[in-house]
Amino acid sequence: MEIPYTVEPRPDTGLYNAKLGIWLFLASEVMLFGALFSSYVLLRTGAPVWPHGRDEGLNVPLATLNTLILIASSVTMVMAWASVKLNDRKKYRLYMGFTILCGLAFLVIKGIEYAHKFETHHYPSTNTFLAIYFTLTGLHGLHVLGGMIVNSYFWGPGAKLFARDPERFGNRIEVAGLYWHFVDLVWIFLFPTLYLL
């Protein structure tokens, strides 16, 4: 039996099913990160003193670089989707490959930051700031990793669908892209909250 509405929109929503599904999933993700942001606000307002990220040894230049890398990956992700819509397989592979590499670079830089923290004996148990820092950035890092796995599948074996059914493949890339942009969006708020304020 064929999965319904993978390409053509449902008459009631005007959307193909996966798109409605990813938006509902992203809504649940907003609540997940929202709960942690809310915890951050409560912890910060309830603390007698709250350290600045720089005072806790957070590396602002590295985090700025990571922000630029994630923003660049969002552009290449949307360019990968545009390349599918323009039926340009070579450019699709190029842009999607670059998106995956940017995700990898982000995680490597995050790993360097974490390693430095551990070397200087800064752990989640050290203080409340580091506890929420590791929780938020760790959860975000897992989301980047999840997105990279999905994107790698669509760059590799999943790309066979491009030749068979480009319309459906384009929709899959759009859905993967929506998730990836959401991960970028979360970092846009995490970066100033943890590193700059």
């Binding site: 700025t64 545009a82 100033p192």
Partner: protein
Amino acid sequence: MEHTDPDSIRRQTKIYVAVFAALATLTIVTVTVSYLHLSAVPAIAVALLIASIKGSLVAAYFMHLIDERKAIYAILILTVAFFAVLMFVPSFGNWDQRILR
């Protein structure tokens, strides 16, 4: 996203590059402002304002929310409402303690 004909997509790719330039510039601005050592309230206000502008650009252009179906806007309105509850209601919870302190 409603306009997916090739000409429209080609036009959009130029917009994506412009949005990238805006996002990169705003990132540099937010870092620069953080080194001005503003007091807590203006620093938080400026940082969150810039982050909100950046977030809106990503949502509007990369996630195509500038041109979407009503069903998605309906989901997002509900999400924003519940997010607001999640963010502000717990903070109201300890107002009395802070006043009494």
